[in-house]
């Protein structure tokens, strides 16, 4: 049976747990998406934007000096960081923005955590001449002021959400509240493979380009499929895009790395699959972080983009069936991997992506012990670049932002 089913279920996960007021809009979105899927004109416009605007295809990059720290593994990065706006988020946003226009709507709203999806949405809205409003938790507008300004430069209105825990989940609540009232003119451009059906499926299809390209690039360069595909998982859009075209290749291991924060055992983490339980949040049934009563528990991660107490329902299903494996990566492991990639390869990854890098290092080292003769080819999705994370890195590594020495002043005399 092909999943999701007609109601958007992945076995016991997924579905539409939404107010009736949104049902018509979701139905409209679904039927427009079905039409677009088989419309050559839609795909040729999207492919054109991907090529000429976003800069696709993104390359794959072998990282031998980094791989030297990963046992016998040969790590290859899929460079989503080289997309316009600096992450994979633009893949989904361009697709949904074109859908928005097809539906005759002139305005988009979005939620954002770190600001990457908000920036991407503001970008697409500017490109297509649409109004844009972005909801962002107050905690996040405070810690990501640069991205707030970027969105404003692009013409978007940014709303700081002060309800609840003032983070990504509350931004999503507020966007849903607005959408109920503005659904006639406005599309809610959800940034990940979560939320009610049909969003998980739509976002997966628009992110599929990551694995479609990478699969062909690896076959071309290495003459074989990867042994392992690794990606970080918050809501899970870059991971789903990275997995999509490999799901039917049984020889390819799929590994998702969740934000382990201070460690899952501490309770301060964002690892919904590893450390959560099945429930309903934001319109879908999936693994979530919740207390004994089903109240959502706040997530914790150094990475604002992974700081979400749920995960896309298809990931929940892939985990439950064992087709993909999910493990937590702590803040410490991620930041170590971030620095290692900088020093060995000259690439500053987003902290989100550093979780996938850390996971790949751990996998490579483990395999070197359990299967010393193997030389696994590991594809890691480098979902975004780390420019936005320099402030966090300064604090984490205790950098002062001051020069190492001075030259040419009176001190030289």
């Amino acid at each position: 049976m092909s999943l999701p089913d007609a109601q958007g279920h992945y076995d016991r996960f997924g579905g539409k747990y939404v107010p009736e007021a949104l049902y018509a809009a979701l139905a409209q979105l679904e039927s427009e998406f079905e039409l677009a899927l088989v419309d050559d004109g839609f795909w040729s416009e999207l492919d054109g934007l991907r090529r000429d605007y976003s800069g696709r295809p993104t390359p794959i990059t072998a990282v031998p000096r980094f791989s030297a720290h990963a046992g016998n593994a040969e790590i290859v990065l899929k460079r989503e960081d080289l997309n316009h706006t600096g992450s994979h988020k633009i893949n989904n946003v361009l697709g949904q923005a074109l859908l928005t226009r097809r539906m005759g709507k002139t305005r988009v709203i979005a939620e954002t955590g770190a600001g990457q999806h908000g920036v991407a949405t503001a970008t697409a809205a500017a490109l297509l001449g649409m109004e844009c409003r972005v909801y962002m938790g107050k905690v996040d507008t405070d810690r990501q002021a640069l991205n707030v300004a970027r969105m404003q430069l692009l013409g978007a209105e940014v709303i700081a959400v002060e309800s609840g825990s003032q983070t990504l989940k509350d931004a999503m609540n507020e966007a849903m509240r607005e959408w109920v009232a503005t659904v006639d003119t406005t599309h809610y451009l959800i940034g990940t493979v979560a939320g009610p059906a049909p969003f998980p499926r739509i976002v997966k299809e628009f992110q599929r380009v990551i694995s479609t390209e990478a699969r062909a690039q690896l076959l071309d360069r290495y003459g074989r499929l990867p042994d392992i595909v690794a990606a970080c998982v918050g809501g899970g859009s870059n991971a789903m895009g990275s997995f999509a075209d490999f799901i039917d290749d049984p020889g390819v291991r799929l590994c998702g790395f969740e934000a382990g924060g201070d460690g899952v055992e501490t309770g301060r983490h964002a690892a919904s699959i590893t450390g959560g339980s099945v429930g309903v949040l934001h319109g879908t049934r999936t693994y979530i972080l919740q207390d004994e009563d089903g109240q959502t528990v706040d997530s914790h991660s150094i990475s604002a983009g992974l700081d979400y107490p749920g995960v896309g329902p298809e990931h929940a299903w892939l985990a439950a069936t064992g087709r993909a494996a999910y493990e937590p990566v702590t803040d410490v492991e991620a930041m170590d991997a971030l620095r290692l990639l900088c020093r060995t390869e000259g690439i500053l990854p987003a902290i989100e992506s550093a979780h996938a890098l850390a996971g790949a290092l751990r996998l490579g080292r483990t395999l070197a012990e359990t299967d010393p003769g193997a030389h696994p080819l590991v594809l890691v999705c480098l979902s975004g670049r780390g420019d936005k994370d320099v402030d966090t890195a300064i604090r984490w590594f205790g950098l002062t932002g001051e020069a190492d020495a001075t030259k040419g002043g009176r001190g030289d005399e």
């Binding site: 107010p19 009736e20 009232a181 319109g283 089903g294």
Partner: protein, 277 residues
């Protein structure tokens, strides 16, 4: 809708027999605290010498109340911060039922899902509760709830909205037992200075598509005059934020247990539903 009006539908039917609309009052369980919350809920039923609400809607506080505006968000969030637990709702329902006025619980689905759909239904029925209003559960996802509500004799109040298709109005009302909740505006809960013109149009569509269905209209009603206007075309007028606001104001004034303003608003609303013809 089944021919059985259910316990809560009977309250609407009784009002209709008196040639008026029923009044449904919503408060957040556990706000400002558990004991005061019980007093406030029972005050809805008997605000003074005159009549009160015909049905109490007990809101279960939730961390992510997607359909609620700021007043209910604040009340529910405060209740949770003060230690409210899902299981506390059954005592509140019992206290209301003891007054002779029926009670339904309004809840986001994850709380029931987590408690166990059948277990929650059993405990609610044992407490004397009439049923559930489920703002984020559409009948399409409600197989387990349909079975549990049948097993325990509980009412199922689903929502319809101005954006619902005719087909969905037919199937949703058919899934209800008791009555259907018509959301009068496209938006979240909260008082509004004017009720929407979409409301009478929606009710008219329901009357045509599902003539046997009792219809409650909610979202936005804040005083007796607005209640009278809605009572002119609906079987029940649902009021929430306007009641909650009296409790929030009382807390802000340093008198969280003072229910005088709440009683006054309820009396005004109860007079309102009796003045429309």
């Amino acid at each position: 809708m089944s021919d059985d009006p259910g316990i809560s539908g009977l309250a609407l039917q009784t009002a209709r027999d008196e040639d008026r609309a029923a009044l449904v009052g919503y408060l957040s369980a556990g706000y400002p605290d558990l004991a005061t919350s019980v007093s406030a809920m029972t005050a809805l039923c008997r605000p003074g010498d005159g009549p009160g609400v015909d049905l109490v809607e007990v809101g279960l506080p939730y961390s992510d109340p997607m359909m609620d505006g700021v007043a209910i968000q604040r009340a529910g969030g405060t209740a949770l911060a003060r230690g409210f637990r899902t299981r506390d709702v059954f005592g509140i329902v019992s206290a209301i039922a003891a007054t002779g006025t029926p009670a339904v619980v309004m809840t986001y689905w994850n709380l029931v899902d987590r408690y166990g759909v059948d277990a929650f239904s059993r405990d609610l029925a044992n407490a004397g509760g009439a049923g559930l209003i489920t703002p984020d559960l559409v009948p399409d996802e409600a197989d387990e709830w349909m079975a549990a509500s049948d097993a325990h004799g509980l009412d199922r109040i689903f929502l319809v909205s101005p954006s619902s298709t005719d087909e969905r109005i037919v199937t949703t009302t058919a899934s209800c037992r008791g009555w259907v909740y018509a959301t009068s505006v496209m938006g979240v809960t909260g008082t509004r200075t004017r009720t929407s013109s979409a409301a009478p149009a929606l009710v008219a569509r329901i009357r045509e598509l599902a003539p046997q269905t009792l219809v409650g209209v909610g979202l936005g009603v804040s005083d007796g005059a607005q209640a009278a206007s809605v009572a002119g075309y609906a079987d029940a007028v649902i009021v929430g934020s306007a009641l909650i606001k009296t409790l929030l104001a009382a807390e802000d004034a340093g008198r969280p247990a003072d229910l005088a303003a709440l009683r006054a608003v309820v009396a005004d609303l109860a007079a309102g539903v009796r003045s429309a013809h």
